[in-house]
Amino acid sequence: MTTPVDQRFHLAWFKSFTPHDWRSTWSGSEERDWMNGDSHVDFLQALERARFDFLMLEDSLMVSDTYAGTAEASLAQGGYAPKGDPALLASMLLSETRRIGVIATMSSTFVPPWLLARMSATIDHLSGGRFGWNCVTSSENRAAQNFGMDALPPHDERYERAHEYVDLVTQLWDSWEDGAVVMDEESNTYVDHTKVHPIHFEGRWHRSRGPLNLPRPPQGHPVICQAGGSPAGKAFAAGNADVLLSLPKGLADMKRYRDDIRDLAEKAGRDPDDIKVMYIISPILADTDDEAREIQAAMNANVEAGIKAQMVNWSATMEIDFSRFDLDRPLPDDATTNGHQSTLSTFRRFAAGRTLREAFTAYRTEAIEVVGSPATAADTLQEAMEFVGGDGFLVMGPTNRRYVHEITEGLVPELQRRGLVRTEYAGAQLRDHLREF
């Protein structure tokens, strides 16, 4: 007798604490009030209804003025800044939901480790174990300058620091044994001090005496998410992460990337199934396939605006001023970054032999194109996962309510009918969701 194979994959959403899609036809009336949290609460409740594993909140710590040497374009778009603190939003969102997880980005380069350990432990407690930390090393000198440095440490050093940082933070989480709170009335003892230990951490870059001043988080360690594509990033992720946000494009690269990560994880002594590799998608959905393709064509027709928007964002993340380059020539070879190295090298590979205009016209953040009715979109996702092997998708798209509902009330029910995503949460904590299948 054979048990049917569990074909299920994971769903999550990728977003920043930024204004919602303020210019579209369906932008609603919250362009001004997005920071009060209301619309984000509704958004997360919709994702929970659709049984998503988690919402991941990206972050950055600067107003970019790389593009043409001014913040004008970046602020006009309103995509990179303004941006609120995602950990605080996460706490509010989790208090309005019961099962779904929220992962907030915090920078190992800028946040003192003790603060991060405590903030994330507190949110994990407040949410009953549904918090995750997206560990980034930050990639912009502009951010470093906000924190009183002249520039970021070099790329690979940031990862070495991050290694040590994660080590320290996990030691702080572990500085209280489970069961340290005894509440024994006989001996009038609230906490058994023999189960709470200083850690006396002395690293190359970080020091902390410890212990943390609150009990071990419900998940032990809040979920750790990572987005590295560079060799240093991948090694780091394979050793530490529960979930990986990954950048490869196309099924072959997606599969290669996942196999690679699983291999590295195994070499690091981990069960490869404990790391979930998730791919970015931005489905275009409509009542019919024709209609979806029309919408896609209309989006692509607005090429110039699209190119400008991409270049402004790339200038911000790479700290390379793309306004300087001739759009009708390829990206100059000497353009380098201390920021998102793997993103740049992926782009270079993709753009090889293309002019910048051609490259930006064709370039997509998403791993695979998903266009059509919910049924067609479900086909695409099903086939992709069958080929790649797992582990799921991160939706990145406009968070106007209409689009969100197309995903949660259109695509997800179709996936559920096919047994491809969960219809009910089995566990209570975020890590339970990730390891459910």
């Binding site: 009060n36 939003l89 208090s95 906490v191 943390l212």
Partner: protein, 434 residues
């Protein structure tokens, strides 16, 4: 002129009392936040101006050289991060202010400026930052330092820190958000400026990457008794939390803060001085006295709780002293200097045990029926001139919160001493309403 004064609540994000007999399940569940949600809703119903969360970043092991005593009693630690709790409380309420302690010694200023700005948005203009410089070397060690900077240098740093943070908040004009659909402009970049701050202790390029907070500058609260602390408070604070003992000292303190504020070029009415109290309420006057006597007897039998608290805050190991002798003369601290000085002055030769019994973290003793206590508060404010009281969790459970919110507050309202509704949406506007 209004006779009204302000009420705030002062406490920490810690377990409730757990052996009082009225603790429900809160001491076990406190980290899920629900007790605090209920608490802050109760205080909002009772028209408190705000709740203020103290904070610290360590597990103290000063007393007896071990964390045993402090953890056993669960007073100083465990303690959750109030910054993480604040968004939940903001979501659960509409008008009450929420002031969060964050240490200038440990938070990178840009991060603090953004977190507080975010909270001000999430609360729709109801957040306060309670500025502390921290006073414990043990906390510094958690942040990779060997010790804190000396007391007065901490204030010099804090001065620069607050200057930097306010500049970051001001780096976005209030009208920077234009949302021009036609031109595709969300934010007008000419209204967002780098600050290029280069100070003695801090540097930051800026601008902040988030919208100007709804209050412009979130409410700043502070507690400072030392001259450096008073100077700092009178320069920046909207609300000063104070602990002078007795009505004449309260008045002297307030007059001093107001004079200093005026000297800084501020309207003295824009600084509210609020005094910490822990009223003991009873069904009858005698009942209240009995409750007080019971408390004193409990402390006399087990003074360690008080000694642990002092050990933590002053970083002096009180377990090494004879309980039935006064505090030796040669004891020093790098922590809360004014606390130690005040302590000595106040203890005035008392044995430690009797000091524990007599000591209360409050400016004046309030004991009686709700109506009697309301009268005492009204009289004190009449003499002092203003501006209100901070109720300190004693004991920290729902029953005590209920006694204050549903017993004392209606009595104050009946006398016209306390607000019966909020006049404004923002914390500062309510604080400055009278």
């Amino acid at each position: 002129m209004s006779d009204m004064f302000h009420l705030g609540w002062f406490g920490s994000f810690i377990p409730t009392t757990w052996t009082s007999g009225w603790d429900g399940t809160d001491a076990a569940d406190w980290l899920n936040g629900r007790f605090y949600v209920d608490k802050v809703r109760t205080l909002e119903r009772a028209c408190f101006d705000f709740i203020l969360f103290e904070d610290s970043s360590m597990v103290s092991d000063t007393y007896g050289g071990s964390s045993e005593a402090t953890l056993k009693r669960g007073g100083w630690a465990p303690k959750g991060d109030p910054m993480a709790l604040a968004p939940i409380l903001a979501r659960a309420t509409e008008r009450i202010g929420i002031s969060i302690t964050a240490s200038t010694s440990f938070y990178p200023p840009w991060m603090l400026a953004r977190s507080i700005a975010t909270l001000d948005h999430l609360s729709r203009g109801r957040v306060g930052w309670n500025i502390v410089t921290s006073s414990e070397d043990l906390a510094a060690k958690n942040f990779g330092m060997d010790a804190l900077p000396p007391h007065d240098e901490r204030y010099a740093r804090a001065d620069e820190y607050v200057d930097l943070v306010t500049r970051l908040w001001d780096s976005w004009d209030a009208d920077a958000l234009v949302m021009d659909r036609e031109r595709g402009v969300y934010v007008d970049h000419t209204k967002v400026r780098p600050i290029d701050f280069v100070g003695k202790y801090y540097r930051s390029r800026g601008p902040l990457n988030t919208l100007r907070p709804p209050q412009g500058r979130p409410v700043l609260t502070q507690a400072g008794g030392s001259p450096a602390g008073r100077r700092f408070a009178s320069r920046y604070a909207d609300m000063v939390m104070a602990l002078p003992k007795g009505v004449p000292a309260m008045k002297e303190y307030r007059d001093d803060i107001r004079a200093r504020a005026a000297a800084e070029g501020r309207d003295p009415d824009s600084v509210k001085v609020m005094y910490v109290v822990s009223p003991i309420l009873g069904e009858t006057h005698q009942h209240a006295l009995d409750r007080k006597a019971q408390k004193d007897a409990a402390v006399r039998a087990h003074p360690e709780g008080q000694l642990i608290g002092w050990s933590g805050s002053m970083e002096i190991d009180f377990s090494t002293f004879d309980l039935d002798e006064p505090l030796p003369d040669d004891v020093q601290t790098n922590g809360h200097q004014s606390t130690l000085a005040n302590f000595r002055k106040w203890a005035n030769g008392r044995t430690l045990r009797e000091a524990c019994v007599a000591y209360r973290t409050e400016s004046m003793e309030l004991i009686g029926t709700p109506d009697e206590v309301a009268a005492q508060m009204g009289e004190a404010m009449e003499e002092v001139g203003g501006d209100g009281f901070l109720i300190w969790n004693q004991p920290h459970n729902r029953r005590y919160i209920g006694e204050i919110a549903d017993g004392l507050v209606p009595a104050l309202q009946k006398r016209g001493l306390m607000r019966t509704g909020y006049g404004h949406e923002h914390f500062r506007d309510n604080l400055l309403e009278f």
